[in-house]
């Protein structure tokens, strides 16, 4: 979680400084596909506030967006039809298009198709990386060691 927060902070700096791609959104979507914990919601909320501070937009705007994105992915994951990892890209596309529409309505930014495609394509490797990391290197409290008598 700490590493993920650091990644989010770095991404927020990068995207607010020079890269016009929503890296925070990609990270949050990807992690939401991997983990279904409340820590995701906290990370989304904090990342949203931090990005709001860096991009000089309303401080709660990105927090709501990221929270909603995280929750929507959770809902998708809980549905039997959309549990397959193959659906990461299409579901991400839906969320990213939705975020772009909201950006257009509230921030007056035009929808950029190329940006949407790049962000969607980026979610797949980021998802694979986070999944690999979480499965191999993170010890969860639910994982118990079996002690044989």
């Amino acid at each position: 979680m700490r590493l993920f927060i650091v990644l989010l902070v770095l991404s927020a700096f990068i995207q607010s400084a020079f890269l016009p791609i929503n890296l925070c959104l990609i990270l949050i979507i990807s992690r939401s596909f991997v983990e279904e914990r409340s820590s995701n919601l906290i990370a989304s909320f904090l990342a949203g506030i931090f990005l709001g501070l860096l991009t000089a937009t309303n401080i709660g705007f990105w927090a709501i967006i990221f929270l909603a994105a995280s929750k929507i992915i959770h809902i998708f994951k809980s549905l039997p039809l959309t549990q397959s990892p193959k659906l990461v890209a299409p579901l991400s596309l839906l969320v990213i298009v939705g975020v772009s529409l909201i950006e257009q309505i509230f921030l007056g930014q035009k929808i950029n198709i190329v940006k949407i495609i790049i962000e969607t394509l980026l979610t797949v490797p980021v998802y694979i990386f986070i999944r690999f990391w979480e499965e191999r290197f993170i010890v969860h409290s639910t994982n118990k060691l079996k002690i044989r008598n």
Binding site: A17, F18, S38, F45, I49, N58, G60, F61, L67
Partner: protein, 264 residues
């Protein structure tokens, strides 16, 4: 357990959502400006550093791309320039040829003389032209430009001919000089180089420096009255039967773009 977790997550979600909405309102009212300012005093220099670094990197890449593009444009422009120069050279040659045709028409009437236009394509001892037997060119025919005699056809192949220039030592043309005092006849003999030698002029016949030398027309295929050159020096000795004169050509044959062969 799962239901409880879901319920907990939903509750958590709505709490954070409510917090976010509250932050939106507070920010709209400007109540969050002091803490925002405080955070931004730390984050702004980092953002600026990142921005400057990214610009520096981007500029380097842009420079490389621009240099490559400039190189490509330079190559394309060089090719275009070569094409334009080539076209220009062709146009100049065509213009010179057209002017040559026009002048020739003024000088030798095409009704009386059949003229075949030819281009000089080389010069060693003989002048090589790009027309030959295919164009009805035969040995001995006169080669002219405007009203100047250049030489006569020495050898003919299918598509090329060699011209024996009037300055060649083998060339002998009966000629005359005409000035205010009268007319003098002689034989124009070529010398090595561009000079010619007018020989067999009788002492009593008038000849002066700068007089023009013309063809006599006694040879079968050389028309009368063509200019052969200009008298440069008159050589007169009392103990010799004939006078002599050195004759210089009127123009440089190397500058010609086109010339004509008189085929009748």
């Amino acid at each position: 357990m799962i239901v409880r977790q879901l319920f907990y997550d939903a509750k958590f979600f709505f709490v954070l959502l409510f917090l976010s909405i509250a932050l939106i309102f507070l920010d709209n009212l400007g109540l969050l400006n002091p803490p925002k300012g405080l955070v931004q005093t730390v984050t702004t220099p980092i953002q600026y550093g990142l921005y400057k670094s990214s610009r520096a990197v981007t500029n380097q890449f842009e420079f490389a791309i621009l240099a490559r593009r400039a190189s490509q444009e330079n190559k394309a422009l060089t090719e275009q320039l070569a094409l334009v120069l080539s076209e220009n050279a062709n146009l100049r040659r065509s213009l010179a040829e057209a002017e040559g045709f026009l002048e020739q028409k003024k000088t030798l009437d095409p009704v009386e003389f059949n003229l075949v236009a030819a281009r000089p394509i080389g010069k060693n001892r003989f002048l090589i032209i790009d027309k030959g037997g295919e164009s009805n060119i035969k040995k001995g025919q006169a080669v002219v430009y405007k009203d100047n005699y250049l030489g006569k056809i020495h050898e003919v192949s299918t598509k090329k001919s060699l011209v024996l220039l009037s300055s060649d030592p083998e060339s002998k043309v009966s000629s005359f000089v005409n000035n205010k005092a009268g007319k003098g006849k002689g034989i124009l003999i070529g010398e090595y180089g561009s000079q010619m030698f007018l020989d067999k002029i009788l002492h009593q016949e008038p000849i002066e420096k700068d007089d023009l030398v013309y063809t006599e027309g006694t040879e079968e295929q050389i028309p009368r009255g063509l200019i052969l050159g200009r008298v440069a020096v008159v050589l007169e000795r009392d103990n010799q039967v004939f006078k002599q004169a050195k004759v210089s050509p009127v123009f440089d044959i190397d500058n010609l773009d086109i010339l004509f062969v008189v085929t009748n």
